[in-house]
């Protein structure tokens, strides 16, 4: 490489700037990795001395915090199962059958979906849930999330299924399979990478969401971890940094684990592709 002197310094300046920007983003992450293992963690970044698990011991000693993780798991898993199953079946029907105006249906649903799980619809959702008599239950949270995530999930999956040749199921049916058999034997395995994308996406969405459980749940027994993080504040409203840091790390692990598992098992192949 032959660089002129100005170009050379230009490169150095650019790299330095890039490194600086990178550092700005890396610092909170470093804090996030260091603080949980530091018994004297402050808001400032510091290397733990000594490294300790005492923060985690305290967190796991807090039954409310542990229960909240379990609640998060129930709500996220319930929501994912509902969204995954319903979106797959609905998207398959929308893609394969000749329902008139099916394109319009999907787009209208998609339009409304951003409203349902957004804060604008909080009051009506609150009223509906309360009228249905399921206030302060996991079901309320699961149903609300399903309503909000389903349209987008259907949209992603329909696009995915549209790109899969119909001849797969047709050849199965000509060979003697019923439509249900053709769906489970042939279509479902081919659609699976798309379903995985939807599952991961909705899990992350539900797991990280604060507002909906905060509004729809009352008792601390039902609160998910995203809300429980609030309990690591003192009476005066200042955060208890040590516990907060440890709990945040635990809270983020399932999502990281899910990504790792999925990319190991399925490799996030988009062989259908998401065009939208």
């Amino acid at each position: 490489m032959n660089l002129t002197i100005p170009a050379f310094f230009g490169r150095i300046a650019f790299s330095a700037l890039a490194a600086l920007i990178g550092a700005v983003f890396a610092l909170p992450l470093l804090w996030f990795l260091f603080a949980p293992f530091n018994a004297q963690a402050q808001m400032g970044l510091a290397v733990p001395d000594p490294w300790t698990l005492s923060n985690f011991v305290t967190v796991f000693g807090n039954s409310y915090a542990v229960q909240a993780l379990w609640n998060s798991f129930i709500q996220a898993t319930g929501g994912v199962i509902l969204v995954g199953a319903a979106a797959t079946l609905a998207a398959y029907a929308l893609s394969r059958s000749s329902v008139p105006g099916k394109g319009a249906v999907t787009y209208v649903l998609l339009l409304f979906s951003s409203v349902v799980s957004g804060s604008a619809a909080m009051v009506p959702i609150f009223l509906i849930i309360s009228a249905a008599g399921i206030m302060d239950t996991h079901v309320a949270v699961i149903l609300t999330f399903a309503g909000g995530l389903l349209p987008t999930a259907m949209f992603i999956l329909r696009d995915f299924i549209d790109s899969i040749p119909k001849s797969y199921e047709e050849s199965a049916m000509v060979a003697g399979a019923s439509p249900v058999q053709a769906f489970f034997d042939v279509a479902l395995p081919v659609i699976r990478p798309g379903i995985v994308v939807v599952v991961v996406w909705s899990f992350v969405n539900i797991w990280g969401s604060f507002l909906i459980p905060f509004v729809l749940l009352r008792s601390s027994d039902n609160m998910p971890a995203s809300v429980a993080i609030y309990s690591f504040y003192s009476e005066a409203g200042t955060p208890i940094v040590t516990l907060l840091a440890a709990y945040s790390l635990i809270y983020s692990l399932p999502v990281v684990a899910l990504y790792l598992f999925v990319s190991w098992k399925f490799g996030f192949r988009f062989f259908g592709g998401i065009k939208a």
Binding site: P165, S171, S178, D185, V190
Partner: protein
């Protein structure tokens, strides 16, 4: 094995008639090719036999039983798709054995049977591979194996060879021909390649714009094309069609056209009827029935040379009669012909085909 019958079958998509009022009958053990240009309704017809498309009106019978509204799974047919439709998540063994699986065969049985068929098709050593891990030719044979693994009443093929290269296509065509003679299967084979249809079919149904124009044996279609459309579709290269003016003189038919020198042809009633409505006729001569001759010979057609293509043992000599009206001859020649040389091509009267102003064949003497 069973027969197939179409009774005035129509299939419309909206206002558009993809297949219109089609009647035909495929005998038990026949190998019928549906031949025609793109969009003429071949695939639609085939899919209606399979039950993947429901006719707008009309009836379809398989083995004498009406199946018009029967689900594909209940028709006991086999089909090879143009894109092969191999299940990407199953290895070849499971792909080929799938029809047996849905028929409730035990794993050992169905894999054994799949292996037998695969061995015949020379893919037996690939049974553990996924479809993405084998070549196009092997995929084609896998889809064939999946269709042959169970006894079906009718075998349907939708351009199964069109994704293969020329050499593999010839090989697969030979294999299908052998198979048909061996099994005596009833088969319907869609193609737009007339050579494929000629080589495989016991009868060819030539389709155009949703209708069957001619349904006859390959040799009949070659010798006596029913319309100018069929004449122009079949043959390699297809029949030359020359627009001529016909008049009756002294009990003979005299044909006049640019560069054409012809002796009178014997009059028949059919010719008389055609002339009664219009003097515009079409003269057809196949390229293989033309040969080089001296200028001015009787039964010849002359024009400047347009192209001389060497095809190996033979040459395609094309002359241009102006306004894109070209005539091609397939001849064995070492002659050096140059562009714009005046070339005369002669033919004998027995090889002349005549079509009326509507493009319908005028039967020759004795037809």
């Amino acid at each position: 094995m069973a027969s197939v019958e179409f009774k005035s079958v129509t299939k419309s998509f909206g206002d558009f008639k993809a297949v219109s009022e089609v009647n035909f009958n495929i005998g038990d053990g026949e190998f019928v090719c549906l031949l025609g240009p793109s969009g003429c309704g071949k695939t639609t017809s085939l899919r209606m036999m399979a039950g993947l498309e429901t006719p707008t009106s009309g009836q379809i019978l398989i083995g004498g039983d009406e199946v018009t509204h029967l689900h594909p799974k209940d028709r006991n047919i086999a089909m090879v798709f143009q894109d092969y439709a191999l299940y990407p998540h199953m290895n070849l063994a499971d792909n080929i054995a799938y029809p047996l699986k849905v028929r409730g065969e035990a794993v050992a049985n169905r894999h054994g049977r799949a292996r037998e068929v695969a061995d015949v098709l020379k893919i037996g050593h690939l049974m553990d591979r996924l479809p993405s891990q084998i070549s196009g030719g092997q995929q084609q044979r896998t889809s064939l194996a999946r269709a042959l693994v169970y006894p079906a009443k009718v075998y349907l093929f939708d351009e199964p060879l069109s994704n293969l290269d020329a050499k593999l296509r010839l090989e697969a065509r030979g294999f299908l021909n052998h198979l048909q003679r061996d099994m005596g299967m009833t088969a319907v084979y869609v193609t737009h390649d007339q050579a494929e249809a000629m080589a495989l079919a016991t009868r060819i149904a030539v389709m155009d714009q949703g209708k069957i124009v001619q349904y006859a044996s390959p040799i009949e279609i070659y010798r006596r094309p029913a319309t100018t459309f069929v004449a122009n579709f079949v043959g390699n290269p297809p029949m030359n069609l020359v627009e001529v003016d016909g008049t009756q003189a002294g009990g003979q038919l005299v044909l006049k056209g640019e560069g054409l020198a012809m002796a009178g042809l014997p009059m028949t009633d059919a010719i008389g009827n055609a002339l009664a409505s219009s003097s515009k006729l079409t003269l057809g001569v196949r390229p293989e029935h033309l040969s080089l001759t001296a200028a001015g010979a009787t039964n010849s057609i002359s024009a400047p040379l347009f192209a001389n293509e060497n095809m190996g043992p033979e040459s395609l000599v094309t002359i241009d009669r102006g306004e894109g009206a070209r005539v091609t001859a397939r001849i064995f020649t070492d002659d050096h012909l140059h562009v714009s040389d005046q070339v005369s091509l002669s033919f004998s009267a027995e090889h002349v085909h005549l079509f009326d102003a509507m493009g319908k064949r005028i039967p020759a003497v004795g037809e």
